[in-house]
Assembly symmetry: C2
Homo-oligomer: 430 residues x 2
């Protein structure tokens, strides 16, 4: 059973702060192990990759077998049901259409002085995508990471996925093919991150690495940051549902459990102004837990991190939502407009009673890689911009240099930078 | 004297790779020291901030004196020459005008199925700006960091600057005021990063921290990443100049030295197709070094990291530039067009013979906080987007849910996520 908080009670602020600051992840200290693996990959390349893969994934390979072949992609396609393939294709198309709208537009202009300025966007040339193995090997995540990269115009989208005992989920291969992944290697862990960052004889390096992974992968990404770019370090998933008493308690309970089943460290929170409805949702959660395949995980998450918050009026939910800064926010009311306006910190907002967050996980079109652990206060979900970079352009002719140069010289001198001043002055014969 | 490489020689590739991979920074291991300081700030707040400031900056303060007062801002304004104030104001206005064009536009649309989608941008509520003390305390950097934050709409721009022995550069205070900085605290080092990230009684926390600093500041930013957002970790500055033989060697030498004077670890590279011009530039560098206030620094940078690269044709400079991925790129030719098109990896490009990079440092309008150490391959200079975040919006009505729901259920089931499937199915009476 989740905890219950009531904003009208005296200890609410204290309990709410405790909820906000609850650590949901034990951080394993794997830095030293990862550092050694990365150094070894850097020094020995393929040989080290093969050794770690044999040891950790129980998979003896040769350099030639690192890359997944076309024949394997074809076999995987045969192993997937038509219905599933159609659903993946629908998801791919909708993700592509939505993300195409995110492509930034270059800006070139001439200002009143005649100075030419501009911002030019270009795609990153090569990007690595880490996909976890085993049960966390989600084809939907392959689409969510790879499709925006291809929309951005990345030339080489290079995917890695560990294949313990030689097993890869065929759905992951099919999703990779649908998304346009250019190269796929059957490796994982810190050794895969090292291979992507430094390159080996068989695996040319990439410039940025995205995608979720376990503690070793996360530590490796932090350590190669600088050599390559990385995306955010994803934490366990979260949902905040703001709901009035006119919702079906079973619908809302199902939404809370959809997050909770991800991970025992996931978090589901309900804010409502209706105490009776809150009780009905709590009861529905308990009922539904009994028939859930991943009921044990969901029950632990709901028990340890779930929360039901009672407010006097739903308007009071908005400032609380901004403090929680949830990865996912459902606003399950008839008219979400007034609440929507006030929410500033949320990764994604799902509007109205008929938009379960799960639609956004798969086929809505927007990205399901979203900021966790309150980081929606300062960061955004994955987008096409994460696969591009901006170069600024500046051109002054002799006339513009005469207009702006003296101020630049003044500032350079004020900062004690004589060569800065000279590089302008020498062009003005000063 | 810088090294000379010639693309026509047999060992060119090997020497070019060595140039690319030269480590220009000794990374100090200050992680443990920083970890202890951060933990102490978190535990004891103001008291710890005051203690470290007394110890490291030799500045005994009380909590009430941490914040710079209005009277101090007024005194600083009186200490600054009119000419300098005018130059700073010009820079502020031009930076503001350029960055205003970067403000992203929200996107709301309804697709063919009737699904409502959108991306909504909002400013980060509170941002911290670290400004180094002493000789690296540049008023231009205050403008380059704070103006985009205010253009983005950040409510609280909180600046920290260490004040060793009580001394703050009045230009920094004036720049902070011009840029619209909301709060300024006279603290620095890891303790200032801790105060910004965790907050103290006197210093409310921020959600993101930007700005350059020494090894302690950089380590502290890495450690608080997650609790708050951070910008990139800036390395020593770099310029690549592509120049034909029709340039004045003294102009190009001055540009190379303008980078070199920043830091002994800065890097200046010239690529030209004219061996005689290369020699003339090398001679001009030696000549100019003799009369440079920061000549010793510039000489060390040029000697240790400078390079002159000869190519058969300037077109060959473009792929080399993309591999170098310089922070600053000057294209000093009569018609830069053909080269400009081919450059993909550069923080900022300065076009033509009359656009010294220094104009971009101060009054061009574009940002001078740019990706260093080859990171222009995967990242961009500072912009308004760094102070905003995007929330995605999704709304399906009952009809859209009927259209998309079955595919979502199929994918949820394929991924083994039963509660995900249920949260859609329950709304469709499936």
């Amino acid at each position: 059973m989740a905890i219950r908080l009531d904003q009208s009670e005296a200890d609410f602020e204290q309990r709410f702060v405790a909820l906000l600051s609850a650590k949901r992840e034990v951080s394993e200290d794997v830095d030293a192990t990862v550092r050694a693996i990365l150094a070894d990959i850097r020094a020995r390349g393929d040989a080290a990759v093969l050794e770690y893969t044999a040891r950790f994934d129980r998979l003896p390979l040769t350099a030639e077998k690192l890359r997944v072949s076309e024949a394997e992609f074809e076999d995987a396609a045969l192993a997937v049901e038509d219905k599933t393939l159609a659903a993946l294709t629908l998801a791919r198309d909708r993700i592509r259409a939505h993300h195409a709208r995110q492509k930034p537009v270059d800006d070139r202009y001439v200002d009143a002085l005649g100075v030419e300025l501009g911002s030019r966007w270009t795609a990153i040339e090569a990007v690595g995508l880490y996909v976890p193995g085993g049960t966390a090997s989600y084809p939907s995540s392959v689409l969510m990471n790879a499709v925006p990269a291809k929309v951005a115009g990345v030339d080489r989208v290079v995917m890695v996925v560990p294949s313990p005992d030689g097993i890869i989920n065929p759905l992951v291969l099919v999703a990779a093919k649908l998304a346009g992944v250019d190269e796929l290697y059957r490796i994982g862990g810190a050794q895969a991150i090292g291979a992507l960052a430094y390159g080996t004889k068989s695996i040319p390096p990439v410039y940025k690495i995205v995608g979720p992974g376990n503690a070793y992968v996360a530590a490796a990404k932090r350590q190669v940051f600088g050599t390559v770019g990385i995306d955010m370090i994803a934490g366990p998933s979260e949902v905040l549902v703001i709901a009035d008493g006119d919702n079906d308690p079973d619908w809302i309970a199902a939404d809370l459990l959809a997050q909770a089943e991800h991970d025992t460290a996931a978090q589901s929170i309900l804010i409502t102004d209706d105490a009776g409805f809150a009780t009905a949702v709590e009861a529905a959660v308990e009922r539904q837990l009994k028939t859930l395949p991943r009921g044990e995980t969901a029950a632990a998450s709901w028990r340890d991190y779930g929360a039901v918050i009672l407010v006097a009026s739903l308007a009071d939910a908005v400032p609380l939502a901004n403090r929680i800064a949830p990865e996912h926010l459902e606003i399950a009311v008839a008219d979400a407009g007034p609440y929507l306006e006030g929410v500033r910190n949320a990764g994604a907002i799902f509007i109205g009673r008929s938009t379960p967050e799960v639609i956004g996980d798969y086929v809505g079109g927007s990205n399901h890689v979203l900021p966790t652990a309150r980081s929606a206060r300062f960061s955004s979900g994955l987008s096409v911009l994460d696969f591009m970079k901006r170069t600024s352009l500046l051109k002054t002719g002799p006339e513009q240099l005469r207009a702006l140069g003296p101020a630049a010289i003044t500032l350079a001198e004020a900062e004690g930078l004589g060569a800065h001043a000279r590089s302008v002055a020498i062009r003005l014969n000063l």
